[in-house]
Symmetry: D2
Subunit: 247 residues, 4 copies
């Protein structure tokens, strides 16, 4: 799809906090997935569906995956309940070109750990503290329209060391009031697909209603979903140029 | 500018070979710059102007630079004749967000060496040999629509070691019939701008009429010219969070 | 361990070809593992043990892994027979600082795929053709003492696209007589550990007796086994700086 | 030189603050260069000389440069007084393999800007505030022995955006009390040489007496000075493999 066109986006949410934790339900009464999907539909014109853990096949059927240009992932309490077969299908789709945006506590999801190859561990703290996400790569389309930083008055802290591979592009670095830093906007290339990890989004804060956060997610959808090189082929290959006979 | 929109492109060419070397004039009677500009205008709808060394200010006045989203650079015989003040203006524009595409022998241009910080030296040979540019990053928009490789039946050889910084994205690696390899499609981020070096284009071969080469240049124009983060500010800064008084 | 000191190296080999394929047995009568281990012991003074698939726990007990600074991996026919629990232990040791060198057909081993997160697929051909491995990063210690390239008169071809993440350092790129290129020396950081993939080494060619290949492996052992930063901690963290009370 | 051996280090200092500013003289009575050189001599056994701006050729004669494995650079007030010819010689030595460590306000030195190709601009503030340098790459030898972070009770603030190319390795990210972050330990490969930028070291704070800071500089000396690949050759090259005749 060309950069300016509508993309087909699927927002996946575990959708447990909002049904069990009144503090989360108060902030996201329709679920975090709907808060994320809304502006992608109304402000950016994408074709957005949602999918959640407790649907059959977690809402990620072969058909849905096939017709998804960019998948967004939010999970926290129930990473282990995600079926391994579905995880493998999502990985295969990423490698064949689907974009993947992993949010906040999704750092510990099966799909993110599988694509990273590391533990994806980090430090954390819930202390109602300020986070400031600084743009460290102003050449990056994911930072378009953001200004120099995004300030979130209250967020959960995530701190280094974040056990992920060095990002292919590092777009944001977070400052936390309590003294830590975090690589909070990380781009990875995996096969023909692109992955963006974006840190903010604790379930009891209204982070996904923040216009700057919405803009970053929209930028990432466009960037992860842009058209790219044709599918490579693998396996046994005939020579393209002559090989001289050996004695 | 959004990815799908027209961009303002300036194609700069030294324009000496085509006026002094009959072999080059036979291939590019209107100059290499017109061969490059043509498909960007007619196939991709960009607003394209050209500029050449022997024009006043090399055709790169402040006004032209200010109204250029992406600058394309071809030079070879007369790198030293390019005025240092113009080079500094081009560098400043790149750092503030203009895209720059450097072609072939432009590896030794003042502007490329200035942005790289290295000698940009390489091996070379003119021997009518085959080049095959392999896509090594199929996730990259610069490779969109290319397939697995571009084959050029006759080209000048450029070989490693190519003395440039490790590219931020490596999109193409070339194979040469005579035994060398070359990192032939290299992306760099510099300030708010993006730079793409693309190897092919010797003046006596019809390389810039090859549809695959034209497509790569068009992809690179769109990619280097896409919108990005707001301009950062520099210098003395007031604190954003309180600093406790020291005893 | 400091760069100049002896390291504890374990060379792991599937050790099947050499016992079933006369052509492989003729080249490596004591097994590929012994051919690799020899110069690391005699020329470089490391403390080297070997381990093979058919030993209990594949020779990779907790005790062996704990006392290994750098693990070298060669496998081809029986990747699927490697026990998943052992693979997870090896991954955990890499993340906590053990070096890992993966050779040739080890690109499809469980441990390499797990650390990369991609399919690790490639093109291949057995056609007795020349490979030339060019140094593309002369600043890298893994290329120390190598000159500009290593030429192997006969090798199996591996061609792009190689479905791995973009390497953190790209040290070698191979040219193949039949027309392909390949990123043949790739460095990755994973957790506190470092991984080096090195392409050459088909079982029916005397590749591991080539002094240049031996030197690269020895360089990689030193580089992957060098001392590094202390182990990070993860999990819930107290603030290091004061967080102001909210209203 | 092998990783464990003595290296020949030259510590270059502008040496103006310490002779004109009593606050700097009180902290560094023998000059910042001697404070840096001391532990490299006594704790790490390197052969260390010093050189300063007001010496003939700034103390950087051809002979000194030729016999320097790693050059350390501190400057601030008088970047413009550094002779361009000397800067070009230093650049050439880096490209041919000398290590370069640029400290603190050296971000605006001619040599650093020349090697980076960018403005190297940043935000700054003198406000007696705490800096905490977090290790973000625990696999990196430059972080060996450091633990999770270095805390400096009082330092000058440097804040993002730092206008440098994306580092080849990012080792440290700083947190500042007043609300900013900074990529404070950045590795670059340039030609056959390696460059490390390390942020701390304002002239009125005793930063270079901090054991953690001393350890990082010593690690960087070893890392930038380690042996590496042979010198590449450039220019016209004969074919290594046969090129078929064209009709």
């Amino acid at each position: 799809m060309s950069g300016g066109a509508e993309l087909r986006v699927t927002v996946w949410n575990e959708f447990r906090h909002e049904r069990t934790n009144p503090a989360a339900a108060a902030v996201y009464p329709e679920g975090i997935h709907e808060a994320i999907a809304g502006p992608l539909r109304t402000l950016y014109g994408h074709e957005v569906r949602t999918a959640t853990l407790d649907e059959p096949e977690h809402g990620l059927t072969d058909d849905v995956l096939e017709r998804t240009d960019v998948l967004i992932w939010w999970g926290h309490l129930a990473h282990d309940e995600v079926n391994d077969t579905i995880v493998e299908k999502v990985q295969a789709r990423v490698l064949s070109g689907m974009g993947l945006i992993v949010l906040h506590s999704g750092h510990y999801s099966k799909i993110f750990k599988k694509l990273m190859g590391t533990s994806c561990a980090l430090k954390w703290r819930e202390a109602d503290e300020t986070e400031r996400l600084w743009v460290v790569d102003p050449s990056h389309p994911i930072a378009a329209g953001i200004g120099e930083y995004i300030e979130l008055e209250r967020e959960e802290m995530y701190g280094e060391h974040f056990d992920v591979p060095p990002p292919d592009d590092l777009v944001f670095v977070s400052w936390f009031e309590g003294g830590e830093v975090f690589r909070s906007g990380c781009v990875y290339r995996r096969g023909a697909g692109r992955v963006f990890y974006f840190r903010p989004g604790h379930e009891t804060y209204p982070t996904y209603f923040h216009p700057g956060v919405q803009r970053v997610i929209a930028n990432a959808v466009r960037w992860c979903g842009a058209s790219r090189g044709a599918a490579p082929t693998y396996g046994n290959a005939k020579p393209l140029s002559p090989i001289r006979a050996r004695g």
